[in-house]
């Protein structure tokens, strides 16, 4: 079954009142250009980390978000700074891309800085968690980012609690929680969505369906063709977005956000995409081994073919077709369809390279926290 941008799950899907224009049709030319820049930025972040890791400069595991950038950029772009997000392992760019529309160098924007995120990756003391937990297990109360544990789907009830409290305070915040499709099998996923549905909490769950959970394909994870169908069982909308098309993701998320902000409750948005590499960088070689054979005979073969379109390419085509950029503009920096080791800095706009450079340089110079911190902050005194 191939994905089309309009595909949604009956009967809950029609969140857009008849005749109303798609949210993305309201975006300005500047918005479109910014979205493309953000896709570059997310891609470059990943590429750069992969290279750093290969050079032995990073510890730990790297969960690449390559090919899934449209999900992140498309879902974050329409949020207000006061909204909350709850990213997990494959959403690393989300931490600094939150509220990026408010200005990449705006000190007041409500997202982590690139310096903070790099300090986290490098295990340095200016990480928001002072390098006490690794990779994506960070967050910030003031920046409205929920701190996950490793335990998959474990932040969804926390997210529900956060917006419950916000609503009690008279706020109108929504929360986006991100999950791999594999993580939806956790009991807590069900408990949290059910609770959110009962109380019509503004909890939007993005299911990043990249068709593999580590070494397990979707047909062993759940038994529906379209995961989004699960939503109907909770009496909430389940939408399917083309995870390669940043504008389709934006549309579906904004429909869900408007629904949620209007007090109508949660939704699930399945973004169909495909994992570019192994589960983590330690798994690249094995994944290259186990996946192709399995995918070739899979029922979701069409989905995968569809998801091989590079989201940057898809975005550029749209911008060209809208007349916002020329083909020459599109061809100026070409990173699409290239694996990390095949890209050079010239394949990305200079402002993107410069932004990350700042973060990396800061992180490299930042010290590791002192040993004694290991014994601190078990309790608030």
């Amino acid at each position: 079954m191939a994905i089309t941008a309009s595909q949604t799950n009956p009967p809950q899907s029609n969140l857009l009142p008849d005749g109303e224009p798609l949210p993305s049709s309201q975006l300005s030319k500047e918005d479109h250009l910014e979205i493309l820049r953000q896709l570059y930025l997310a891609r470059y972040f990943d590429v750069r980390l992969i290279k750093e890791k290969k050079r032995g400069r990073l510890r730990g595991t790297l969960y690449s978000s390559h090919n899934q950038e449209a999900v992140l950029v498309g879902s974050l772009f329409g949020l207000k700074g006061t909204d909350w997000i709850s990213p997990i392992h494959r959403d690393m760019p989300a931490f600094f891309m939150k509220d990026l529309r408010a200005g990449w160098d705006n000190n007041d924007r409500i997202g982590l800085t690139i310096e903070q995120v790099c300090c986290q990756v490098w295990g340095k003391q200016d990480s928001p968690g002072r390098a006490r937990d690794n990779w994506s297990h960070i967050g910030s109360k003031s920046k409205r980012i929920i701190h996950s544990t490793s335990m998959l789907a474990g932040t969804i009830p926390v997210a529900a609690g956060v917006v419950y409290a916000d609503r009690l305070n008279g706020g109108d915040a929504v929360v986006l929680t991100y999950n791999g499709e594999g993580s939806t099998a956790q009991g807590i996923f069900h408990e949290a969505i059910n609770f959110a549905a009962v109380h019509k909490l503004p909890v939007i769950t993005i299911v990043e369906n990249n068709h593999w959970a580590y070494g397990t394909p979707t047909n062993l994870e759940y038994s529906q063709e379209d995961f989004a169908r699960r939503a109907d069982g909770y009496g909430i909308p389940g939408l399917i977005a083309d995870g390669q098309d940043v504008f389709d993701v934006y549309d579906k998320v904004m429909m869900a956000v408007n629904h949620a902000r209007a007090g109508k409750g949660p939704s699930i948005i399945e973004c169909k995409t495909y994992r570019a590499y192994g589960h983590g960088d330690h798994d690249d070689d094995r994944a290259a081994n186990y996946r192709p054979e399995y995918d070739a005979k899979a029922t979701y073969k069409d989905d995968i073919e569809h998801a091989r379109r590079d989201p940057i390419d898809v975005c550029k085509k749209k911008l060209v077709s809208l007349g916002f950029i020329t083909q020459a503009d599109a061809d100026r920096h070409v990173c699409e369809y290239k694996s990390a080791d095949k890209t050079k800095d010239e394949d990305f706009p200079p402002e993107v390279v410069a932004y990350l450079k700042r973060g990396v340089e800061y992180a490299v110079k930042n010290p590791v926290p002192p040993a004694e911190e290991g014994g601190m902050w078990v309790f608030r005194e």
Partner: protein
């Protein structure tokens, strides 16, 4: 066997009333406080601890949750992350195992993980303990799991005065607290007592000496405080003077009060009703060993539940749980060592 409380005059209140009052008073005092749990609103709680709360404070602040312990804990954490004070009830403390991951990995570690940015003010409370024919899943004392999970405070009151004062202390403490209520004491009129009308707390980490003595120290908490007091009566008849320390708060622990006592008595018996292996009784023995070894004239021994679940019918249940006889027997061994 009356519990020691601030001497006041007035009507005696039982343990359940003390808890009801603590919750209602804190809800009134703190408009940022939320209560959630199964059947706590319309019903007022399986044991009535939250009776009347929903009428008084509304269904937004007193939430009848679906039967989802993990979501109860997780959403409590989220509310606390967003500035609320939360009381979450486990209908029986036995069901806490269904929300286990959220407690030990999400809630307990939040402050540590965020290097102090976020303190999670959640008090998880629920009825606990055996001796009532509740069988395997309505009798547990599983506090050891949580004492072993850094970042949680763990409290077990044995008197109405303490139940109210410690519950208020937990609700005002910025850290996550587990509050074990001894359900056999809820309506026990023998321990009902006059408690102050004025607002008070019992600070976490302070033990109470329930009976002074010179020959042997009982270190205990919960239901077994009363068994130790009875054992002390029996020992007194035999000419031994036993001191009974009710630690009340397991994390943090008041080591000082225990040390002072052992300096005096040089002998100690630890009593609790959890399974023996890796229970808090063993922890007490290990600590006493560390901070009071040179004062011991005999090994510190434990009286605990056998390493079994709690069986249902009475002779079996009493066979596996600590009893006054077992306590006296062990104390006598220690005294004669």
């Amino acid at each position: 066997m009356a519990a020691i409380a601030e001497p006041t005059t007035g009507i005696k209140k039982n343990y359940l009333t003390a808890i009801q009052e603590a919750l209602a008073e804190e809800m009134a005092r703190n408009s940022d406080m939320i209560c959630l749990g199964e059947d706590i609103g319309i019903l007022g709680g399986a044991f009535g601890c939250t009776m009347g709360l929903q009428d008084q404070f509304g269904p937004q602040r007193v939430i009848d949750m679906p039967i989802s312990e993990a979501a109860i804990v997780g959403s409590s954490v989220g509310m606390a992350l967003n500035g609320k004070t939360v009381m979450a009830e486990m209908q029986f403390i036995d069901f806490i195992s269904c929300g286990f991951d959220q407690i030990v990995n999400m809630m307990a570690t939040y402050h540590y993980r965020t290097a102090g940015e976020v303190a999670i003010n959640v008090t998880l409370r629920g009825p606990a303990g055996g001796y009532g024919g509740g069988a395997l899943y309505h009798s547990q004392m599983n506090e050891s799991w949580f004492c072993h999970s850094p970042g949680l405070k763990v409290v077990v009151p044995s008197t109405p005065y303490d139940a109210k004062g410690l519950l208020k202390a937990c609700l005002r403490d910025p850290n996550p607290c587990l509050f074990y209520e001894i359900k056999q004491l809820y309506r026990d009129s023998k321990i009902a007592e006059v408690i102050p009308d004025e607002d008070y707390i019992v600070p976490l980490g302070s033990a109470a000496i329930r009976r002074p003595g010179t020959d042997l120290t009982f270190v205990t908490y919960g239901q077994n405080v009363y068994h130790c007091l009875q054992a002390a009566d029996i020992l007194a008849e035999k000419g031994y003077s036993a001191e009974v320390i009710d630690i009340r708060s397991l994390v943090p622990l008041d080591e000082q009060t225990i040390l002072e006592s052992i300096k005096k008595t040089n002998r100690v018996v630890v009593v609790n009703e959890a399974p023996k292996t890796c229970g808090y009784a063993g922890e007490l023995v290990a600590r006493i060993n560390e901070f009071a070894f040179e004062h011991l004239d005999a090994p510190a021994l434990r009286v605990t539940r056998l390493d079994t679940p709690v069986p249902w019918v009475q002779p079996l249940e009493l066979f596996v749980l600590p009893s006054v006889e077992k306590i006296v027997e062990t104390a006598t061994r220690v005294l004669r060592f």
